[in-house]
Each structure stands twice: as C-alpha cells, then as structure tokens.
Amino acid sequence: MSVQNKKFTGAKAVLGTAVFAALMTGTALAEPALIYDAAGKNDKSFNEMAWNGAEAYKEETGNSYRDFEIQTDAQREQALRRFAQQGQSPIVVPGFTWAEPLNVVAQEFPDTHFAIIDSVVDLPNVRSVLFKEEEGSYLVGALAAMKSESGTIGYITAFDFPLLQAFGCGYVQGAKAVDPDIEVLQNFIGTDFAAFNDINTAGEVGRSQLERGADVIYAAAGAAGEGALQAAADAGKYGIGVDSNQNYLFPGNMLTSMVKRVDVAVQDAFMDELNGEWTSGIVSLGLAEGGVGAAIDEHNQDLITDEMQAKLDELTAKINSGEIEVHDYRSDNSCPVS
C-alpha cells in the first residue's frame, strides 16, 4: 500500500513525465538521499549531524528526502544501488568506510550525484568532502592549555586510526603552541566502531585521566564522549566536546566544542543539487571555510577570558593566513609532537 504511495507522492506525481525525463538525465528534481554509517542515525554525533543537515534542508525547502540505516557491510552497495535505481540524487554517505562501495556503485550510475564525507572517491559524479579536523582541534588545544592549571590535559578518542589521530595531533600542536611544557594524556576507549557508543568505558577513561592530573579533557569519540565529559564535569574540571556543539551538555564545565559541520556538508550537497549548482571533486572544509572551529556560546562564554579570546582570534587569523600550518597526521601517518 504505502509501497505504491511512495512512488507517486509529492512533486513526482504532479510533474509526471517531465520528472521521469529529468530523472533519466539526472538533473535537479530528484529527491536526495542520505545513508548513515554503521553507528546509525542516532549516534548523537557524526551520523546525527548528517541527519540534522538533511532535516535543515527539509525545513528550509519543504522538500522530502530519503534516509537509510545499514545493518551489515554487504548492504552498503545494495543501499546505494537501490537509491540510485529509484532516481534519488544526490546520495550522501557520511563515513570513510563508504569509499570502496561508493567507488563501485558511482561508476554504475554516472548520471547520479554522490557525496562522501571524510574520504575521497575520485569520480566525475562524486563530491568528496574532507574536514581539516586538525585546525579546529588546534584551537581547542590552545584553549585547553590556557585553561589548564595543572599543566596536564587529556585527549580521549574511540580507537586508533588515522582520522582520530588527526584530531589528537592537532590538539597537541595547539596546546604546545601555547605552553610547550604541557603534558597531554592520550587514551583510546576501545578497539572498533562500537567504541563510539561506549559511554561507560569513556567515563572510566576520563576518570583515569583526571586522577592522573588532567584538568581539561577533549573527548573526540562520538556518542561515547559524553561519558568522559560527564566525568570531567562531576570532578569540577573541564570538558571539550566534538562534532556538534556540545557546550549545552554541562554548562560551566564545558570549555568549548570542536565543531565539525557535517550537517552543513550534507545540507550543501542537497541544496546544490536543488539549485542546479552541483559540483564534483574534493571539497576541503577548514577553519577559513567555517567547516571546523571552536564553539563559543552562552553556555561557555564565562569560561573564556578576554585573553583567551584574543589568543583564539590571533591563532585563527594565523591559520587562515597560512602563517601557522597545522600538521595533518594523515599526510604522513605521524605527529611531530606528542
């Protein structure tokens, strides 16, 4: 019943054959789609940010979109193909694990537009959105070092792979830029993607860092990060959130959040298609593009002194002008500082 309805609702029914023609040529009138990574839609972090972007598109334009959660890796190609066959475009996939399946399916549907976040698929119909996580992390690292009284700060992340190392490496660089003697504790929560949801272990790791003297903790671990932020707040210390602006979680104990605007990437992809302004190729979103940054709002502005704000502005300007070049861990799989 609703199987049938699905096909004939909205603009498609009204425009009839015109839409069919448009779908055949892959132009603007298709419905966009979003397929989440393994952690699923409601991960309070990366995937949820992507969903927020799609929702923002829906609110702004009144247009609908399709989304989907996968259960196994074999479903990646299947889901991409299903949406492409239905004429969905663009199809946005957040997460680097999508690179290989997308590489296969995007070649089968050269008239459909695809966007991948956090990885590069070099095809004429694919937009690859990369974030300069190291730049945003550099700023929050500098803030952490300025806030710290103990001379020890912490970095907690899900598990050990280059993308998350890039967050940590930027953080350490920023902290050392302010205070060369600062000690940065770095710990992993787990060993696979489940770690992104392991709030309890994140809390344990956070408490362990606090006991070792850390008084600011940067938790770059998706939904799990909240456990570490909670631990910091309970101890009267400071936490730094990630991806979305998490400052509201523990007002007074959240120093800042390293925002990574996955939502903007998704919304832009949807809007560009709608406006007929689609571009393929690599899009790199750093500090200058507003893709990453340190969030200051009513929940944490009391914690940021004028001096810290001035330093923040100075570092931002220097990164944007190229005077400071933040090393990207992924460029050579190593970090110059630790």
Binding site: S2, G40, T72, D73, Q78, T97, D160, T191, D192, F193
Partner: protein, 372 residues
C-alpha cells in the same frame, strides 16, 4: 512429571521450530501494528524482499552461507558438550589470513585466491579456537569465558592490524582492495537472475561444510567420540576416549568453519578487510545452531531463515520507511528468543498430540504417565 515422550523427528526438526517462528512473526506483526503500519504489508515486504526476486535470493543465500559457517562452528563443539561463543573472534582473525593471502595472490588467478585464502582462513580460525580449547582441556579454564575473552582480544588485535599495519595508503582502517583478476566469481556472472547480489562461489563451500559435518559427526569414529564426550564425559573417559584430544580437535574444526566466513564475506564480497567486518554474524551463529538443533539440515534451514530476515529486513526498511530499522532487529530478536531460549515451549503440547498417535492404547504402558 513424566519423562520426555519421543516425538517423531520431523516434529522436532521442522514443526516445532516452524511454530516458534510463526509465533515470533505474530508478535513482531503486533509491534508493526502498534507503529501504525499494516503488519501484513510489512511481512509481505519482508518475505518478498528475501525470496521475491533473484537478487533477493542471492542476498538471502549469501547471508545464509555466513550463518552456515558460524552455525556449524557452534554446533560441532556443542556435540562435544561445550559452548563455542568465539565464532565472532575466530571469523575476525581468519579474515586476516584470508585477506593477506588473497592480496598476495591477487595478481594471479581467482582459483589461487580462492584456495589460498580458504586454507589461510581455516588455519587462522583454527588457531584462534585451539588456544581456548587447550586451556579448557589442559587447564580447565571454562571455554565459554575464554572464547568470549578471545573475541575481545581478536577485536583489539585486528583493529591494530587494520589501522596500523596492513592499512591501505590513505585509508583509515581497511586493507587495499583485491585486484580485478583475483576476485572470486559471483554466481551472477553465470546466472543473470542473481544480478547485483553478493552470492559467490563460497556458497558451495557452505553446502560442502554441511555435508562434511554430517559425515563427520554421524559417520566417523571421531564423530562418535565427539558425541560420546558430549553425551556423557564419564562414559567417554571409561571408554578410553581422550577428552583433551576431542576438545581440541572439535574446536579446531569449529574454528576452521567460522574462518570460512572470511572467504565468503571479506574475500568474496567486500574484496578487502574492514574493521569489524564480522558484524555479529558469529553470535547469530549461536542462535542458528540452537534453532537447527545442531543438525546440518536444521542449520541449513535456520541459516536460510536468518539470511531471509537480514535481507528481507533490509527490503522492509526500504519499502516502509516508517518502520524503523530497530523494529527489524526486534523481529530478528523475537525469532532468536522463541527458537532459542524458549525453543521447547511447544513440546508439552506436541507431546500430548503425538504421543497418542505414536503409541496406540493397547501396547502403551506409558499411557498413564502421558496423562499425568
């Protein structure tokens, strides 16, 4: 309470699980109705998605192949009276062997890739199973605990290997992809009906594994030893059967079975190894083995059912976006609950029905018992 009445085999193996599955679907349907969707539409979308098209069949059989391997890994050891909870880790570590050999040989021909990665996967899976087996046999460390712990070790070890050691350049936590000429043939290369489905040549290994297991358990001396140890360890010892030998060899075979999943999933379909590629298939194997009563025929049917649930669930989520994917998991969980944990629920009822038919009154000394 009277002793268990013997039920005809087809009742135990077919009718009882079928009733359990039916009940699971009825309750799952109620959940769908509560959300406000038509349960019949949902169940039809699930069924049609799994069996309605060649592609659906292809996916269903592909998942079923995985479940056959992980199910047998539990069943063989269960026949020896133990629980192998480590299929997840055994399959994961086997992925390392399989992909390394596949990437090493992928410039040659897929035949070499297939057999090379199969041998490597079985060896690695066995290795990961033998250690807990040895600890159980020689040191008395409970195998349930050790195999669970080995799943964690496998996860940590593999994520280290994938993110630090055998990572593809520029990738985060996966290996490079197998070159074109080294990829295993898909059944869709030969039968157009399976178009786009991942069903590959490893499917035949799955069937071979079922037959192998039947012959092993019921037609060989080793199988007799395995069953004897499982039925009565004391009797087995009295009969001169070495428990150490049987435990280690049965776990080694089980680990090899779990390892074959790596050939099907990692080498055959994803053509590379990614972090967490097993995705809980090892744990579902436990449910498959229980539902299949640890018998190859039962396991084949149970694997097919779970394959259908995975594929049909995916299609259901596509066709009825209002049904959240969590509900698909709920339906899968209900099937596990009713076939596994509450698998014997219908036995008293069935005993009452069939005991009368099987034992006609005159020659039935147990009638009084049955009535009691």
């Amino acid at each position: 309470m009277s002793a268990r009445q013997p039920l005809p085999n087809w009742v135990t193996i077919v009718l009882m699980p079928a009733l359990n599955v039916l009940l699971a679907f009825i309750i799952g349907g109620l959940a769908v109705a509560i959300i406000g969707e038509n349960p019949l539409t949902a169940m039809w979308a699930l069924f049609y998605g799994a069996f309605g098209t060649g592609m659906g069949w292809g996916f269903t059989l592909h998942y079923a192949t995985n479940f056959i391997f992980t199910g047998l890994a539990v069943a063989i050891v269960f026949k020896a009276g133990m629980f192998n909870i480590g299929g997840e880790g055994q399959a994961y570590v086997a992925g390392l062997g399989a992909i390394m050999v596949a990437l090493w040989l992928d410039q040659t021909h897929w035949v070499f890739v297939l057999f090379g990665s199969t041998i490597a996967a079985m060896m690695m899976g066995s290795l990961w199973a033998i250690i807990p087996a040895w600890l159980q046999a020689k040191r008395g460390s409970h195998i349930v605990i050790t195999t669970i712990m080995f799943n964690f070790i496998a996860s940590a070890f593999m994520s280290y290997m994938l993110a630090q050691v055998i990572t593809a350049p520029g990738a985060n936590a996966e290996t490079r992809t197998i070159a074109e000429q080294g990829r295993l043939p898909l059944l869709s290369d030969w039968f157009d009906a399976f178009q786009y489905s991942p069903l590959n040549i490893t499917f035949f290994f799955g069937i071979a594994a079922l037959i192998f297991t039947y012959v092993l358990i019921w037609r060989t001396k080793l199988g007799y030893k395995i069953r004897t140890l499982g039925a009565n360890p004391e009797a087995a010892r009295y009969a001169g059967i070495s428990a150490v030998y049987v435990i280690i060899i049965s776990m080694a075979i089980a680990g090899a079975m779990a390892g074959l999943m790596a050939v099907n999933e990692a080498v055959g379909v994803q053509k590379r190894l990614v972090v967490g590629y097993v995705h809980g298939f090892g744990f579902v194997g436990i449910a498959v083995a229980f539902m299949g009563r640890s018998h190859p025929v039962g396991i084949a049917l149970a694997a097919l059912l779970f394959g259908a649930l995975y594929q049909g669930g995916q299609e259901l989520a596509f066709e009825l976006p209002a049904v959240p994917s969590d509900l698909v998991v709920v339906i899968q969980a209900l099937v596990i609950l009713f076939t596994g944990a509450m698998g014997e629920m219908f036995r008293p009822l069935l005993e009452r029905i069939f005991a009368r038919r099987v034992n006609p009154a005159p020659e039935a000394p147990t009638t009084a018992e049955t009535e009691a």
